[in-house]
């Protein structure tokens, strides 16, 4: 059984009913992959959920319900928390990044970079393959096994 960690954007696209993301996810499962996610991805998604129309409390409850459902159905094998070991690896990765590249000045991009490092650290710590839509964010990490998903979401807000 091959084990992979799914990056936040893919989880977001699955939850937002993007056909390509759903097809990709379900195909991976059929191909025998065990898919995992990081708690960081769920935390990243909360910001978007909070902007949902209607009651915010209901939006959070619904989101929690949907995640529980896909866990129950085995579509997410495990949600990995941020542990001391993971935060140490993430810190080290961020340090390497700052040595090699100029960190982004845009606050939100820096926030994303920290999340990316926590996700990469989770994959490294648990020996997981990382699936992402943004290969460039991770491919500089030598020890990380990473692959770009074979689809691309154009636009994003349109109903198809």
């Amino acid at each position: 059984m091959q084990k992979g960690l799914v990056d936040s954007m893919i989880v977001m696209d699955y939850d937002n009913a993007f056909e390509d993301a759903i097809e990709w996810w379900e195909r991976q499962l059929e191909d025998g992959w065990e898919l995992h996610i990081s708690q960081v991805s769920l935390m990243e998604m909360l910001k978007g959920i909070a902007k949902s129309p209607g009651s915010r409390e209901k939006a959070f409850n619904d989101f929690r319900f949907r995640i529980q459902e896909i866990r129950k159905e085995g579509k997410i094998r495990r949600i990995w928390p941020i542990t001391q070991g993971i935060s140490k690896i993430a810190h080290s990765l961020l340090e390497q990044y700052c040595r090699r590249f100029t960190p982004p000045s845009w606050c939100e991009r820096m926030e994303s970079l920290i999340c990316d490092m926590l996700i990469a650290a989770t994959a490294l710590k648990h020996g997981l393959f990382l699936f992402t839509e943004n290969l460039r964010d991770f491919q500089w990490i030598d020890s990380l096994r990473v692959e770009k998903v074979d689809y691309e979401i154009e636009g994003g807000g349109e109903m198809t």
């Binding site: 954007m9 009913a17 319900f65 159905e73 994003g156």
Partner: protein, 108 residues
């Protein structure tokens, strides 16, 4: 049933649907509007295991079958007109969350 109650019911349904491909949801709604809830639910239950469908399509019907079944009593009590309205509102709610997270996509 008032409009607010229909919207509320639709919102509850849409909030629980996960991994539903938009085109399959629309096909299912169209079938349900023509053949009724009971037959549409049977169809979803059948298609969720159909080997002739792609994995994403099967997931869509799996979620539809599960969620719609849990609201079957409420939906069965609606008039045809109200039933169609609820499905229409649910479609809007189902995809409304896309827009809110679009900003998050562009940020990454």
């Amino acid at each position: 049933m008032t409009t607010d109650e229909k919207v509320e019911l639709a919102q509850q349904m849409a909030g629980q649907l996960v991994g539903v491909v938009p085109s399959e949801w629309r096909k299912w709604c169209s079938y349900a509007s023509r053949k009724g809830l009971k037959r549409a639910l049977q169809l979803a239950r059948c298609l969720q295991h159909s080997p002739s469908l792609r994995p994403g399509q099967r997931q869509s019907y799996q979620s539809i079958a599960k969620v719609i079944a849990s609201f079957q009593v409420d939906l069965a009590n609606l008039s045809q007109d109200d039933f169609l309205k609820v499905l229409g509102y649910a479609t809007r709610w189902l995809f409304a969350r896309r827009g809110t997270q679009y900003a998050e996509r562009s940020r990454r």
